[in-house]
Amino acid sequence: MTAGEAPIGEDDLQAWIDGRLLGPRLAQVEAYLDEQGGVRERAATDRRLREALRTRLAARAAEPIPARLRIAHLRAARHAGRLRRLRAVAAAVGLFALGGAAGWGAAAWRGAPGGAPQPPSAAVARDAARAYRVFVVEVAHPVEVAASNEKHLLQWLSKRLGRPLAAPDLTRFGYRLMGGRLLPGGAGAAAQLMYEDGGGRRLTVYAQAAKGDETAFRFREEGGAATFVWIDQGFGFAVTASLDRDELLPIAEAIYKQGWPERARS
């Protein structure tokens, strides 16, 4: 080694194995390996193993791309699945007939005057979080109609809303339906379904009429309550709980994805 050269290090050996050394540095490392026979032997083995691994895996990358991985296919499936799921959720949570609900309790809930304009999803999230905070702490009457009377609850809400109504199944997250209630919300009515887990933690699923375009999930956190909200076909949907974002997201996704179009259409 001549003066001024950096000593050969492990990084140089790895770069030699990967064939990434050039010019003088390559010459220096080669000279070093000539002196250190044992090191050269190990590095040469590593180089062979690197090649062997590439060879072993080459066929996987050479295969034609299967149809299910083509972007056009994924896009089409994504679009269809999204519409299907949104319709299912809308029906399941309670897609209010706009005509039926219009005018009911509307005027008082237009939102605060003079405030900055907010996206409709923000209004839904705010209303859902408010309803959550009011009723989730309620001991005596957390729900208007209990889940023991689920059939009646859903028939009653369905009748009031003019739409068939089902409740999302969240048992795989440990949450069972406690019941639900009808509320004023947005420009009309809102429905709140409340769930509780074995530890007494509560979660609400909420729906109200909302203007605005379809949105993906939006997350909001306010006063210790986390909410995922999304808008579809004139309605806003929200799931609210005192959970971390990462804990709530799979539940929101499950509600979003739970497709019971058959049941909802019945």
Binding site: E10, L49, L53, T55, L57, A58, I65, I71, R75
Partner: protein, 169 residues
């Protein structure tokens, strides 16, 4: 960016993503499931991607995170038990064949973090810096994992099958 450009950019990466996924799970269908989920996630988060030059690192990071989420338990437990049948199903007849044939199985015995470094750098030709970005690590850590992983891989293959058949239960 036009939709066709997006599709072309993503599809260029699919062969490499399939190869990486297969090397991690060694099941063609499960590997393609991971790639499909990775692409779906990439499409849904397209607006959040890193600048163009980083597309590959971004996609591989998504794929690896999906793999870690899905296989976390398996990854933590080690994969020796699963390996046994696989290893015994392909007896090593020749010396060269043994080294070639077993190298993927031997790779599976490394910790995932070393596997991924060896695959990204050694197979996918990521630069050390690009691998560091994909793995969310400093370059120095990538280099030390590369060095340790290669030593370990060499030791597994040079020491024969003894360590391979070790059962972890």
């Amino acid at each position: 960016m036009a939709r066709d450009d997006t599709a072309a950019l993503l599809e260029q990466q699919i062969p490499a993503l399939r190869r990486y996924a297969y090397a991690l799970v060694r099941d063609p269908d499960a590997a393609d499931d991971l790639v499909q989920d990775c692409l779906e996630r990439a499409l849904s988060r397209w607006s959040l991607r890193r600048p163009d030059g980083e597309l590959r690192a971004w996609l591989f990071a998504i794929l690896r995170n999906l793999y870690l989420d899905r296989y976390r338990q398996l990854v933590r437990r080690g994969r020796h038990v699963e390996l046994d049948t696989d290893m015994m199903a392909q007896p090593a007849t020749q010396e060269a064949g043994a080294e070639m044939g077993d190298v993927l199985a031997a790779l599976q015995q490394l910790p995932e973090e070393q596997q991924s470094v060896l695959l990204l750098v050694g197979v996918e030709d990521f630069s050390y810096e690009e691998a560091a970005r994909a793995l969310g690590l400093p370059v120095g850590t990538v280099m030390s994992r590369l060095s340790r992983g290669r030593s370990r891989l060499r030791a597994i293959l040079e020491n024969g099958r003894g360590p391979t058949l070790r059962r972890v239960k």
